[in-house]
Amino acid sequence: APGRAQVFSTVVDTFLQKLVTAASYQRFVSCYRCVYKLQPQLTRSIYDQFISQLQACVKEEIQEVKNEGNLEELFSSLDKIVEEAKDREEPAWRPSGIPEQDVRSDLLPYLLQHRAHLRRALRDREQRSSAAAEAVLAGRDRIAELQQLIQARQQAWQASSKEQRELIMTFQE
C-alpha cells in the first residue's frame, strides 16, 4: 500500500487538479465577460497566469506545511508503526484520561525490578545474619566451654588447696 506521504501528495494534487478543472477558462470568461470582449488574448494570458500562480502557491504552501510539521518523517515512521501492528485486530490501548492510572504502567517494570533487588538484598542479608548467628552461637558455646573448663580447674585447685589446708592442720597438730 502507498505510504502516507504518497497518499498525502496524491490527495492534495487531486484537490488542486479538480480545483483547476472547476476554474475552467470558459467559467473565467463567463465571469470576466467585459474584459474578454475588450481583450480576449489578454484574458487568456491572465487566466493562464492565474492558474499557474494558484498551483505554484498551493504547492509551495503544502511544502511549507510539510517542512514545518516535519510531515515526511512523521508519515514514514507512522507507516512503520502501523505496519508493525498489522497483525493485531483488537483496538489498542488509549490514554484513560486518568494520569495516575496511566503512569502506573510506566512505573511498574521499575517497581518490579526494585522489588527483585530488595528481595535479593534481603536474602543476602538474611544469609549474612544467619552466618553471624551461627558464629554467635558457636561463640556462646565456646564461652560456656571455657567457663566450665575454668570452673573445673578452679574446683581442682580448691580441692587441692583444701587438702593442703587439712595437711597443714595435721602438721600443726
Binding site: D102, V103, D106, L107, Y110, Q113, H114, H117
Partner: protein
C-alpha cells in the same frame, strides 16, 4: 481547545519519562 489537546497530548508523551527519571533516581538512591 486545540491548544489544550496539544498540551495534554504532549504531556502524555513526555511526562511519564520525566516521572520515570525521578522514580528511578529515588529507587537507585534507596538501593545504594
Amino acid at each position: 481547545f486545540d491548544e489544550l489537546i496539544v498540551e495534554t497530548a504532549t504531556r502524555r508523551k513526555q511526562w511519564p519519562k520525566k516521572i520515570l527519571v525521578h522514580a528511578i533516581q529515588a529507587m537507585k538512591a534507596e538501593q545504594e
